[in-house]
Structure formats: structure tokens, C-alpha cells
């Protein structure tokens, strides 16, 4: 199967983008009901990045934030975070990191740093460190303890980021493994997720 920027956007993959965005929205809605500083709004981005690759993952992340941005423009700059998650998760999937436990741990670690980092960059530059969500309390706590702004925001994001990454990734990974093989076979990056016994028959 050919891969890469030019080949990843077949109709099958294109159709996954709306699915990914909708999954993100469903997750986001649960978050708002729960009112915790935990965000499971990237399940769609992870899922699509895993089976359709980095570039489709980037589009999913970006579009998700634009859709949210229609009601809350603050979400738009955070598109950078979703896009970087889509990009990295897609490449990890391509290089088969998710097939074994060590790869998963390494990937999640890097994804946490990437998402926390980009989130911190956006937060500090656009909003002076404030996001308007529950995480601000954590940030405020760090600030009150005497840390500088950059530091506090980054630390906040690392802590919540770790939880977020693990949750989002775990849910999407579990779901991907459950996708029937006949669909995975058609996706550019889906084959690694089919269990070995099924592949033997073909």
C-alpha cells in the first residue's frame, strides 16, 4: 500500500476525518458535563491518526478545533495542539510503535511532552497563561508557589497532559483493536492492528 502525503487522502481516509472530528466532539461533550480538568476530546484524532496516518490525523485535529472554534474562538489557536498530536501519533503508528508495550510507553511519553508543550506555547502567547478551564486552578497554584509563568503553565500541562494522553490513547487504542479486520485492511495504516490469527487465513 502506498503511503505518504499524496496517497493518504483517498476517499476511505477522507471519510474518516468527519468521524474523527465527531468522536472528538462526543468526548468533549462528556468533558463539559464532568467539569474535570481532564480532556478526552482527542479520541478521534488518535484513532484516525493510527489507522489513516499522520497527515489525515493532522487534518482531523485541525478541523476539530475549527468546528469548536465556531462557538468558542479560543479553540482555534489550540488547533496547534491537536494537529501535533495527529502528526506524531500518525508517525508512531506508521513505524509500528503501538504494536508492543515499550513502543506504546515511549510514544505516549513523547506525545505528552508534545501536546503539553504546544498547549503551553499557545496558552502563554495568546492568553498569558490562562485557558478558562479547570487547569487554571492548577496553574494558579503553581504561580502562587512562586514559579514563573512559563514554568507554571508548562508544569500544569505536563500533569494534565499525561493523564489526557493516556486516557485518549487508551480509549482509541482499545477501540481500534476492536475494529473488524475487513475495514482495517482497506486503510493505509490499519493492517498492523489486525490480530495475527485473522491475517493467516487470507
Amino acid at each position: 500500500m502506498k503511503r505518504g502525503l499524496r496517497y493518504d487522502f483517498g476517499l476511505q481516509a477522507l471519510m474518516l476525518i468527519p468521524v474523527g472530528v465527531s468522536l472528538n466532539v462526543v468526548g468533549y461533550q462528556l468533558c463539559t458535563i464532568l467539569k474535570l480538568p481532564v480532556f478526552i476530546d482527542q479520541i478521534g484524532t488518535y484513532l484516525v491518526a493510527m489507522v489513516a496516518g499522520p497527515w489525515v490525523g493532522v487534518m482531523t485535529g485541525f478541523l476539530g478545533n475549527v468546528v469548536n472554534g465556531m462557538l468558542n474562538p479560543v479553540a482555534i489557536p489550540y488547533g496547534l495542539v491537536s494537529m501535533s498530536i495527529g502528526l506524531f501519533a500518525g508517525f508512531f503508528s506508521r513505524f509500528k510503535f503501538f504494536n508492543h508495550l515499550i513502543g506504546i510507553i515511549v510514544a505516549c511519553g513523547i506525545l505528552t511532552i508534545v501536546s503539553a508543550g504546544t498547549a503551553a506555547v499557545v496558552t502563554v502567547f495568546m492568553f498569558g497563561g490562562i485557558t478558562g478551564a479547570g487547569t487554571d486552578l492548577v496553574t494558579a497554584a503553581f504561580l502562587a508557589a512562586g514559579r514563573q509563568l512559563w514554568d507554571s503553565v508548562f508544569s500544569t500541562n505536563i500533569i494534565t497532559g499525561t493523564i489526557n494522553t493516556i486516557l485518549n490513547f487508551a480509549i482509541s487504542y482499545l477501540v481500534v483493536k476492536r475494529i473488524p479486520p475487513r475495514f482495517l485492511v482497506k486503510l493505509n495504516y490499519g493492517v498492523p492492528y489486525i490480530s495475527k490469527e485473522v491475517l493467516k487465513h487470507g
Partner: protein
């Protein structure tokens, strides 16, 4: 009850948004931001959308602005912080920073909110098609906007079905989280299956046909559109020539 502003061409309205954003980014005095905010409110009034505008605005931006004030003014330690109580201190620099930040955010966000309230996605897509944006891009946008409400409905249906089977879905945080994952599985599976079948439907409607697409619904630019765009450009030129405020 169609408002004339709804009929303005999307790129015209976009031009207004860009003008506001550029002016906002280059301004340093908060007064300009207040004026821009007032401008957005005025536009919303003329568009007949003031109610929805304020509703969306308060739900989204207000909270951030409030937090920015509280944190910058009382918590961030600047050089001139005067401690009031425990870790809470008052800082004039904080106040100025927060006013500067918050006012800019308000100005930019409010014009963006206005834009999405007066421009339907259908119009945006029609304008993109006219601008020869590739079919795949406009397709993804249209499909996404249509699919999101369908998925939310589907997730609700699945949750209802699970409740009927005895799984607890309302209540404490833990209960909700536990109900979430069994809902995700069927949701994704059903969606992927439908997506798979829909790919065939789309090809059955000629999606990949290597032919220049035509449009059943299209918009036209009127003289008014051109005038507004020119007015924006002139405004920008005047702003920069007169010296950015």
C-alpha cells in the same frame, strides 16, 4: 426573516474579520480594542443576531477574560506586586497586562463569533467551490458539519439502549466514565461501517469523476460586496499610514 447581511458574499465578511484582526494585532492601546468590540456588537445588531451573539460570547470568552484578570492581577508575581493576603497580591503591571491581553482577545473573538453566526457553512463551501478549492477539501468540510450532529444523536441512542440494558449512565463522575467506554465501542464500529458503505454511495454519485464540478447552489458577488472590501482596504491603508494606534 432573512437579513441582508446573510447574503453578503463569505469572502466579503472574511475581509471584515481580517481587517479587524490586523488592526487589533497592531494596536497597543486598549481603546482601539474596545472600539473594535463595539464594532462587532454593532454588526451583530444590524445582522439581527445580537441575542445569539451575546449568548455565545458570554459562554465562551467571558470566563477566560475573568480568569485572566484574576490571575494576572492577583496571583502572578510581578515587580510591583503588593501582597494582600497569603499568596494574593495586587499588581498594577498585572492589571495593565491583563487589560491589554483581555481586550485584544475580546476584540478578535467577537468578530470571529459574528462571522460564524452570519455565514452558514453551506455558503462558505459554495464560495470555496467558486474559488476552485479542491473538491476533496470542500467535501470534508461539508461531510464533517453534517456528521457531527448525527454522531451525537447516535451516541445518545447507544447510551439509551445501554441504560435499558441496566447499565448506569447518570450520576457520579465515576459512573459516567464507566458508561462512556462501552458506548464508544459500538459508536465507532457503527460509524466505521456506515462510512465504509457511504464510500460506495459517493462513488455511485460520481465522486471521483475527473470532470469539472458544477454547483446546484451558488452565490454571486454583488456591487455591495466589492464596495465593502474596498472600504476595508482603504480603512487598513488609512490606519497604517496614519500611524498604528
Amino acid at each position: 426573516m432573512a437579513n441582508p447581511i446573510d447574503k453578503w458574499y463569505p469572502s466579503t465578511k472574511l475581509m471584515i474579520v481580517l481587517t479587524v484582526i490586523i488592526v487589533s494585532m497592531f494596536s497597543t492601546i486598549p481603546l482601539v480594542q474596545y472600539v473594535l468590540f463595539g464594532f462587532a456588537i454593532l454588526l451583530s445588531l444590524c445582522s439581527g443576531k445580537i441575542g445569539r451573539f451575546l449568548n455565545t460570547f458570554f459562554k465562551s470568552i467571558f470566563v477566560i477574560v475573568l480568569f485572566i484578570f484574576l490571575v494576572q492581577v492577583f496571583i502572578v508575581k510581578n515587580d510591583d506586586s503588593q501582597p494582600i493576603w497569603w499568596f494574593i497580591g495586587y499588581s498594577q503591571i498585572g492589571l495593565d497586562t491583563s487589560i491589554g491581553l483581555a481586550s485584544r482577545i475580546v476584540a478578535i473573538s467577537s468578530i470571529i463569533i459574528w462571522f460564524f453566526q452570519v455565514t452558514s457553512v453551506k455558503d462558505i463551501v459554495a464560495a470555496l467551490e467558486k474559488a476552485r478549492i479542491p473538491k476533496k477539501v470542500t467535501f470534508v468540510i461539508s461531510a464533517t458539519i453534517q456528521l457531527v450532529p448525527q454522531m451525537t444523536k447516535l451516541s445518545q441512542t447507544i447510551t439509551d439502549a445501554q441504560r435499558a440494558r441496566g447499565i448506569e449512565t447518570e450520576g457520579s463522575v465515576l459512573v459516567r466514565m464507566k458508561a462512556f467506554i462501552p458506548m464508544m465501542g459500538p459508536l465507532v464500529l457503527t460509524s466505521i461501517q456506515q462510512t465504509d458503505e457511504r464510500v460506495l454511495t459517493l462513488e455511485a454519485r460520481g465522486f471521483s469523476a475527473p470532470i469539472r464540478k458544477t454547483a446546484y447552489y451558488s452565490m454571486k458577488k454583488t456591487a455591495l460586496d466589492y464596495m465593502i472590501v474596498i472600504a476595508c482596504l482603504l480603512g487598513l491603508i488609512a490606519y497604517f499610514v496614519g500611524g498604528p494606534l
